[in-house]
């Protein structure tokens, strides 16, 4: 088992597609929450292969895309404070905030460094004791545990100049908010795979039980997605609404206890701002008071002007699944990956980028 080619098998894939086509009778609309799933769906042209009864819509599961301009502005403002080194995962660089981006700030002289792991950020702090090193904590339940681990490591190693700007977001609360906002009329949810690897499948139970929507946790290979869709179709046809795991090689119902404990030690739930959805209670993570000395928000005077949105950019509606990139007047014209207007075109996992790069409305 090598875990990649087996999950891209042409024969198995065609078998799954045939079964879905045969079984699907009722009209059903499924949302893939996660941007990683959106990319797989487009990269393998999966929408074209599904029967007309099934409609797939993309959800808000791209951590960069959902980061509000006000929070992006904070990150940029931090980079302007003398003595600060901002460290970040690479995808953040190009994302336009209200007035600038980290990439532009960097070109103008701010010290912004791309790292591949939080431990690299920690090493940067250790190597530059006279500077303040801030890591941009952006991501879902997937990245929160490793960032928590970096804070605990900093404490253990006695590193006093390491800070985290925690912009973490939690997935279950935003899905509830989405479902409550109405207008989506989903018959199934493709639940995020990596998030579930951390939190397990139990946190999705409320969707099946309270909203009557079938839920299946999926992996990221094309066969994972097809198997997940097949399982959703099966539930729809039977009139079931349960939580199932198609991604058994990565996800256990109870999640990853070690990762969850790390998160709980360092973070506590807080309100968070989401692009297109506003503030959602309990949907973010802030650093607990006992780790306050690592909290960038508490230790720097971050000054930002009021956030402004780019007029006409509909990233917010796209993230809610109520519009598609094709509905946007900028898509493929003023807004392209090389010159993005909104974050959904920047991030490798953004819907606009997936539509643009892999076909979608360009006829692929």
């Amino acid at each position: 088992m090598k875990y990649i080619t087996e999950f891209r098998s042409s024969e198995l894939g065609k078998g799954l597609i045939a079964r879905i086509q045969q079984r699907s009778k009722k009209k059903a609309r499924f949302m893939e929450f996660c941007g990683g799933h959106t990319v797989t769906i487009f990269r393998y042209g999966i929408r074209q292969l599904l029967p007309p009864t099934i409609e797939m819509v993309s959800g808000p599961g791209c951590p960069i895309c959902v980061t509000a301009n006000a929070d992006l502005d904070k990150a940029i403002a931090l980079s302007q404070i003398p003595g600060v080194i901002v460290t970040t995962f690479g995808d953040m660089l190009k994302v336009p905030g209200s007035r600038s981006s980290l990439e532009k700030a960097k070109a103008e002289g701010a010290e912004v460094r791309t790292v591949y792991s939080t431990m690299d950020a920690l090493d940067t702090a250790e190597a530059n004791p006279d500077r303040s090193v801030v890591f941009l904590g952006i991501g879902f339940e997937t990245t929160a545990p490793i960032i928590a681990a970096s804070i605990l490591q900093a404490e253990e190693r006695g590193i006093k100049n390491y800070y985290v700007l925690s912009l973490h977001k939690l997935c279950p609360p935003v899905i509830r908010a989405l479902l409550d906002s109405g207008g989506l009329e989903l018959q199934g949810l493709v639940c995020p795979g990596h998030v579930s690897a951390v939190i397990g499948s139990h946190p999705w139970e409320f969707i099946a039980q309270e909203y009557g929507i079938p839920c299946v946790v999926s992996g990221f290979e094309p066969l994972d997605i097809l198997q997940c869709v097949e399982m959703l179709v099966e539930q729809v046809e039977k009139g079931d609404s349960r939580v199932e795991i198609a991604y058994k090689r990565g996800v256990r119902p109870e999640g990853n206890q070690i990762a969850l404990e790390l998160m709980e030690r360092v973070f506590e739930p807080s309100p968070a701002r989401w692009r297109g959805m506003g503030e959602i209670a309990g949907s973010g993570l802030k650093i607990k008071s006992e780790y306050r000395r690592f909290d960038a928000e508490a230790n720097f005077d971050i000054k930002t002007a009021p956030a402004v949105e780019h007029k006409g950019c509909i990233c917010g509606d796209i993230l809610r699944g109520v519009k598609t990139p094709a509905d946007c007047k900028f898509f493929g014209k003023a807004c392209k990956p090389e010159n993005p207007v909104g974050p959904c075109m920047v991030s490798a996992e953004g819907s606009c980028s997936a539509y643009y790069l892999y076909g979608g409305e360009r006829g692929g």
Binding site: S10, G13, G36, Y44, L49, G90, D91, E338, R362
Partner: protein, 334 residues
């Protein structure tokens, strides 16, 4: 303390002279270089191909090669893409003060070894040393000339609808091998760069069919970017089949980890050939006989509709666009 390159090594004075004589000319020896004139003088006849490229790879030593081997292969392969037989190269170093002399000598030896294999000679060169921080260890520029055989007319604008697209082997080895050794990102892999001189491969392909329409070595930007360039230059569409494209399991795994698509990962020893349909099998067989083309495969076809567009039939049978690469490859964060 190990010998280091000093600013004086690039000054034109005694140290510089010694370095050139002992470390370069002695190793790279050939009648044209040995004359030590300011320019190499030689006669050539026929249509010539001329190209230049600069090499700034980091790290300068990577699994399967180093910056010296790369600098020769890159220029040899650029000449080969016009069907030329590569002959003479220039070699210019920009060295950061403090580079270990031993490293430089290793690189020059590697240049010589690959020149021998490629059948080319370094006939002129230059050395500059810059202060620490003004360059990163070592940059190399090479330029090269080659002669195009009679009757060969290869250009990126010659692809025609109906032509077959042949790829000489597995993609992404170079990019992943280099990235695997990059600071802050190192991971364990046995993968080696595919860095190789392809003049011999192209000569054998041309023997099988002098009517090859286009050749391109898919380096930075990978297979996807090269195919897009060809489609745009020739004003045709190109349709490839995902299941026909050779990719090593190690490359797939690394791409998953880093969030890369192998179609966009750099190669340094691969060739794309666009060939009239009647000649495709002959060329494919010739490629498979060469050690750098053993895994060659027909991966697609040229079409007339939607000029400039590259599409791919996925393993599942659906279709998608294959765009040019935008910016740098960046790892995903979730």
């Amino acid at each position: 303390m190990a010998d280091k390159i000093l600013l004086a090594h690039g000054s034109g004075g005694k140290l510089a002279h010694d370095l050139v004589e002992k470390s370069f000319v002695k190793v790279l020896a050939n009648p044209l270089l040995d004359k030590m004139d300011d320019s190499a003088v030689f006669e050539l006849s026929g249509r010539l191909a001329f190209t230049t490229d600069s090499y700034v790879v980091s790290p300068i030593f990577f699994p399967g090669g180093d910056i010296g081997k790369l600098a020769v292969c890159g220029t040899v392969n650029d000449l080969a893409t016009s069907g030329a037989k590569p002959l003479y190269l220039s070699l210019a170093f920009i060295i950061e003060e403090g580079l270990a002399l031993e490293d430089l000598e290793k690189i020059v030896n590697s240049v010589q070894a690959v020149c021998g294999e490629a059948g080319v000679e370094i006939v002129t060169g230059d050395t500059k040393v810059v202060t620490r921080g003004s360059a990163d260890k070592l940059f190399i520029n090479t330029a090269g000339v080659g002669v195009i055989p009679e009757g060969v007319n290869i250009s990126g604008s010659n692809a025609r609808p109906g032509d077959k697209v042949i790829l000489s082997g597995a993609i992404g080895d170079h990019g992943i091998a280099v990235v695997s050794k990059r600071e802050g990102l190192s991971f364990a892999t046995k993968l080696k760069s595919d860095c190789a001189p392809l003049g011999g491969l192209v000569a054998e392909m041309l023997k099988a069919s002098p009517d090859i329409h286009a050749l391109r070595d898919p380096t930075r930007g990978g297979l996807a970017t090269s195919l897009n360039e060809l489609a745009q230059q020739s004003k045709v569409s190109i349709r490839i089949e995902e299941k026909e494209i050779p990719v090593r399991e190690e490359v797939l795994a690394a791409c998953e980890m880093l969030g890369f698509d192998p179609l966009y990962v750099a190669n340094e020893g691969k060739m794309i050939a666009i060939v009239p349909p009647g000649d495709a099998d002959k060329v494919l067989k010739a490629m498979r006989r060469n050690k750098y083309g053993k895994k060659a495969a027909i991966i697609g076809e040229v079409g007339a509709e939607n000029p400039g567009r590259v599409t791919m039939k996925t393993v599942l049978g659906s279709s998608r666009i294959v765009d040019m690469m935008v910016g740098d490859l960046l790892p995903r964060i979730c």
